[in-house]
């Protein structure tokens, strides 16, 4: 089969598509053709596979939670232990099509650019394609997922030169695009829980469908779920982000394999904690209940942990220098909580905070490098003097 795709073969144009599929899960026995001749067990594709592995807990929990929230809304199988399989299967039926569409559209475009530009397939989309479904509300129409993925891959990534060259996190670009393009389907309190009813079913009385942060933003602090529920993820929200616990499993995998940056994760956490603590301190005097949510609880809510583990640590769009990573992460945490609490137009600030810091990351790096250069110049000057 291989010669068909080699140079001069019948399907020469699709060579890189074939190459991408051939090397998907194993390393073929050919030698590196140019550039550095280092062959390591871990390449970009392996890295990506591990990140996806780290996201699996979020995905699986998300599927169950989609089902759980749905059955809560119609008042059946209310207990958390009840009907595990029904809930999981219900969620899987809702979530898997989104995953398939995201991958189908994104990889399709990726293959197209590969063929036009004649470079090897860049594996970056493997992770983005999984992140996109996880940050969507469950009721997002599939065509919107397709439009968002297409926009993110073309405008967010390919125009900058493909994987590794993008300024903004691809998955967040998709989400931000949809958020501003179709606000009714990406925010508010109608989209987080699937309320598709079959015959004989009806919504329970008092069902609202808003997320905890949605409640909090509209001043209904009593609607915020307790901290432990939020930690395990028993609440409404985007598909994969509700459970801080599942995110922490992912974080453990990323840290153990050394793929995610612990500096960024820790500094985002510190930044978020610092901002929440400040709010805690000033909240009582202002009389703002939202500000008085305890630090730990504040951090468990919304997509803070999901963004911290999977989005902020994106090695392409984050700051590259170690000092830069601390600044970058800290400001993400700070701004995420700030936007969330103070700006009622945006119930969750994680997406905007990360995108903003993505843009700022090169500037941070620039100043870190410059100050290092300056320090060493001074030292050099001292020695020669």
């Amino acid at each position: 089969m291989k010669p068909t795709f080699a140079k001069g073969g019948k399907l020469e144009k699709l060579h890189w598509v074939f190459d991408g599929l051939e090397t998907f899960l194993f390393t073929p026995g050919h030698a590196t053709e140019k550039g550095a001749h280092i062959r390591d067990g871990i390449d970009l594709k392996r890295t990506m596979s591990i990140v996806i592995l780290a996201m699996v807990p979020c995905l699986l929990f998300g599927m169950w939670n989609v089902g759980h929230q749905h059955y809560l809304a119609i008042g059946e199988l209310v207990g958390r232990g009840d009907g595990f399989l029904e809930k999981f299967i219900f969620g899987a039926i809702k979530v898997l099509p989104i995953v398939v569409v995201s991958y189908g559209v994104g990889l399709g475009i990726e293959f197209l650019f590969t063929t036009i530009k004649g470079h090897p397939i860049q594996e970056g989309y493997l992770v983005s394609g999984m992140l996109i479904p996880l940050v969507m509300p469950v009721d997002t129409p599939l065509w919107m997922v397709a439009v968002g993925s297409a926009f993110a891959v073309i405008i967010g990534k390919e125009v900058f030169g493909g994987t590794g060259m993008n300024v903004l996190n691809v998955a967040l670009t998709a989400r931000a695009f949809l958020f501003f393009a179709y606000p009714t389907m990406m925010s508010g309190d109608k989209v987080w829980v699937n309320t598709g009813l079959e015959e004989g079913q009806k919504l329970v009385d008092g069902f609202s469908g808003a997320t905890s942060l949605g409640h909090a933003a509209s001043g209904n602090i009593a609607g915020v779920v307790p901290m432990l529920d939020s930690f395990w993820g028993f609440e409404a929200g985007s598909i994969g982000e509700t459970s801080a616990f599942a995110c922490l499993i992912g974080a453990a995998i990323l840290l153990l394999t050394g793929i995610g940056s612990w500096r960024i994760m820790l500094s985002v956490l510190l930044g978020g904690a610092a901002m929440s603590a400040i709010f805690n301190a000033v909240g009582p005097s202002i009389g703002n209940e939202y500000m008085q949510i305890p630090v730990l609880h504040q951090l468990m809510l919304g997509s803070f942990f999901f963004g911290l583990v999977f989005m902020a640590t994106d090695p392409v769009t984050a700051a590259q220098t170690n000092t830069g990573k601390w600044i970058y992460g800290f400001l993400i945490g700070l701004m995420a909580i700030l936007i969330r609490v103070v700006n009622p137009a945006y119930p969750e600030g994680m997406m905007l905070a990360i995108l903003f810091m993505n843009v700022m990351a090169p500037t941070i790096d620039h100043f870190v490098v410059q100050s290092n250069v300056k320090r060493r110049m001074k030292r050099a000057a001292l020695q020669t003097a």
Partner: protein, 226 residues
């Protein structure tokens, strides 16, 4: 207008539509487009391209101001003292812009209300001052008029294309006429939503960017050498 006006003025050595003069019109349409190549006038391209109608009105206003202004300044170019030429150009531009504004208010009041402040802001449009300063101050009246015409047409077609896509996807209509049928919208049982992002200015920038992308991939001499 070509044949009618071409005949009487043909006495100079150069024909009215000689190759050089034609180039004054065609160059800004593609190779030297004021928006996509010189990247001037971006502000108005973002601001008034939500609807095609506004874009057309804006383009015509700019066309009038640039062409007439170019001719006037070109005619006066030997009388304007070099040191105060910018002020002189501004006075002429301001006068023309005010005239255009008054005409719009008189004949297309609805549109005038929508494009409102941006007509007044034509005076700050870099294309305008660029043409006055760079071309009209050093060329005869007729080439100046052609140059103004070419540049404003180059400006106009980008504006209209951007507005076309923004109105189509942002409001589902073209020139105010509904293109995407009401029945496919989610509000009446379908699954379609207007794209709010298209209404927001950033999307105009993205569309201009895509136009530049397509233009450069077809017109390779525009690609800067690294």
């Amino acid at each position: 207008m070509s044949t009618a006006t071409a005949a009487p003025a043909a006495k100079p050595a150069e024909g009215l539509f000689s190759k050089k003069n034609r180039k004054l019109i065609t160059d800004p349409l593609n190779d030297n487009n004021p928006i996509t190549v010189q990247v001037l006038g971006i502000c108005s391209a973002l601001a008034i391209t939500v609807k095609v109608q506004n874009a057309v009105v804006m383009s015509l206003s700019v066309l009038a101001v640039v062409v007439v202004g170019n001719m006037v300044i070109s005619a006066l170019r030997n009388l304007i003292p070099g040191r105060i030429r910018i002020i002189a150009q501004l006075v002429i531009a301001a006068g023309l812009v005010t005239l255009v504004d008054i005409v719009l208010k008189a004949y297309v009041y609805d549109v005038s209300k929508q494009v409102g402040v941006y007509v007044g802001l034509i005076i700050t449009n870099c294309i305008l001052m660029g043409r006055y300063e760079a071309f009209a101050m050093g060329n005869k009246v007729w080439p100046s008029a052609l140059d103004g015409l070419g540049n404003s047409l180059g400006y106009a077609w980008i504006l209209v294309v951007v507005a076309f896509f923004r109105e189509l996807f942002g409001s589902g209509s073209i020139m105010g006429l509904r293109v995407i049928p009401e029945s496919v919208y989610a509000t009446s049982g379908g699954a379609y939503f207007n794209n709010n992002m298209m209404i927001l200015p950033p999307m105009a920038l993205v569309i201009v960017g895509i136009i530049i992308w397509i233009q450069r991939s077809r017109n390779t001499k525009l690609i800067e050498q690294a």
